[in-house]
Amino acid sequence: MSAVQEALPAVRSSRDATVRRFALTDSIFHGMTRAAAILVLVLLGGVAISLVAGSWQALSTFGFSFLTSESWNPVTEKFGALAPIYGTIITSAIAILIAVPLGIGIAIFLTELCPRPLRRPIGMAVELLAGIPSIIYGIWGLFVLAPFLQTTVQPFIISVFHGIPGLNGLFAGPPYGIGLLTSAMILAIMILPFITSITKDVFDTVPSVLKESAYGIGCTTWEVTRRVVIPYTRIGIMGGVMLALGRALGETMAVTFVIGNAHRISTSLFAPATTISATIANEFTEAVGDLYTSSLVALGLILFVITFLILAIARYMLMRIDARTGA
């Protein structure tokens, strides 16, 4: 009895020490995880600050005209971002026009038509396309797609549209193979898997009861898709398209191979052009002089702002559909 009483304070103090140690290590771990989470915020903030700091010289030299000037002359040090901005927007827009119908079609095929045993393998194959690094698309575009377009497709299109006013400017020769349209096609292949897998995912969120009741009153598969599935998932599809647009706008390597890196705005889709990311990738290491480098960083800042806005809208839309399925 007395032995136990003698031991009690020792036990109690060792227990207190253990609890204190637990509390200490727990708060250390808590602090570490919190710091890591905050670091993610700091990273994005750091990106924004460093881009603004790096582009300050160019922006203060050229002011607003940086956005509206087409000239890009390293010799006279006159820089304007209009041509790369134009190229970026045109290539991405055409890519979206090609990839969205294809992506939605594949998603409908996978959710409604495909025989069950094939669903997983085909879905996986499309998603594997998303994992292929962009440089592979670039090298394929340069050595396979561009020569094919140059020798076969473009001469044909140019001859067909030659006499048609309005369209002949859009498809004016000579057929280089590389240029706006080739870049847009490569971008379309690249973003197709994103659109497909997101569309497929949001299609899967449609309650079966809704589809079954439409089938029950005699709707065809297309009518169910058009009148029930697509309206129900509209926000999600829009979100997926915006996400893909964000990718297309910022995509660098695939475009750099096949865009031609020409700083001019041309109405022909066959003409070589440039995009923001391709300009940076091509010229950054060769840029001589602070103003040149700063102008390239300023291009990066413009790209960052555009993609940030697009991606923020995309995430907001996808969050809304998540909230609905969660509820």
Partner: protein, 283 residues
């Protein structure tokens, strides 16, 4: 009656047309994948030989291999993963465990999703301003940091998702026997979510092993063997970029072979990663 029948016919016809278009779309998608992989295999395999893995990148017009580029890619990928993974796992842990319902988590999740799809060339510019400019020269370590920044959002996302899937009853059981929170996280939650977190890390490796843009002006490139982390280092994607755009046939061949190596690595990693989560779902 006849109008009803013709309406039925036209609806069926429309359905047939639209569904055929969907099948064609799927056909185009798959054919495109087959075309790219086919060209890659055809052109890449032509240049596969032992010397690709044992010799350095050659000067123009000479035979050689890709050894220094492969080595550089592996080194920078490993450093990128070592730096990026702990940060990503810890941040994901905060979002799923300590701060599951906090405002910070909502903000971090939003920002992380944006970082996940941000153009990688922007990350390259950031690291250039952050490290290359102050240090005054390009270096492998700057390249590795750029890759680490790309790793973080992927790992954060999967870690959070996977920890959220761990049933709360497991955590409560751990807490009920007196384990402090971080012990519960370490010995219960991490263990339950392990395969998912590993999948995230594998996907991150797959992503950065093919990244070119962030390395262009951080690690630059190097014609020679270099294991100095403070100096420019060759990497497979940047070498492919340089060689593919060159007029020399030997270089272009090496670019194709390098592209094949990268693609097979990335495909193998993503298939392996998917098989890990697939097994988990079956259970």
């Amino acid at each position: 009656m006849s109008t009803a029948a013709s309406l039925h016919q036209s609806r069926k016809r429309k359905n047939g047309v639209m569904m055929t278009l969907c099948v064609i779309a799927a056909g185009i998608g798959l054919a495109w994948l087959a075309l790219i992989l086919g060209a890659l295999l055809y052109k890449g395999l032509a240049g596969v030989s032992l010397s690709v893995f044992t010799e350095m990148t050659p000067p123009p017009g000479d035979a050689g291999g890709l050894l220094n580029a492969i080595y550089g890619s592996i080194v920078m990928t490993i450093i990128g993963i070592i730096v990026g993974t702990p940060i990503g796992v810890l941040a994901g842990t905060y979002m799923a465990e300590y701060g599951r319902f906090s405002k910070l988590t909502t903000v971090v999740r939003f920002i992380n999703d944006i970082l996940l799809s941000a153009p990688s060339i922007i990350i390259g510019l950031f690291v250039y301003e952050l490290m290359v400019r102050p240090m005054g020269h390009f270096s492998a370590i700057a390249g590795a940091v750029a890759l680490a920044i790309l790793v973080i959002p992927v790992v954060v996302r999967t870690t959070e998702d996977m920890l959220n899937l761990v049933p709360n009853a497991l955590r409560e059981a751990g807490t009920a026997i007196g384990a402090p929170r971080w012990v519960v996280i370490r010995s219960v939650a991490y263990r339950a979510a392990l395969s998912g977190i590993v999948t995230g890390i594998l996907l991150a490796i797959a992503r950065i092993s093919g990244e070119t843009a962030p390395l262009l002006f951080t690690a630059l490139n190097n014609q020679f063997w270099s294991s100095n982390l403070n100096a420019p280092m060759a990497s497979l994607p940047v070498t492919i970029f340089q060689f593919a755009l060159s007029p020399y046939e030997e270089w272009q061949q090496l670019a194709w072979t390098g592209a094949l190596i990268i693609t097979l690595t990335v495909l193998a990693l993503s298939i392996f990663a998917r098989s890990l989560t697939g097994r988990r779902e079956d259970k």
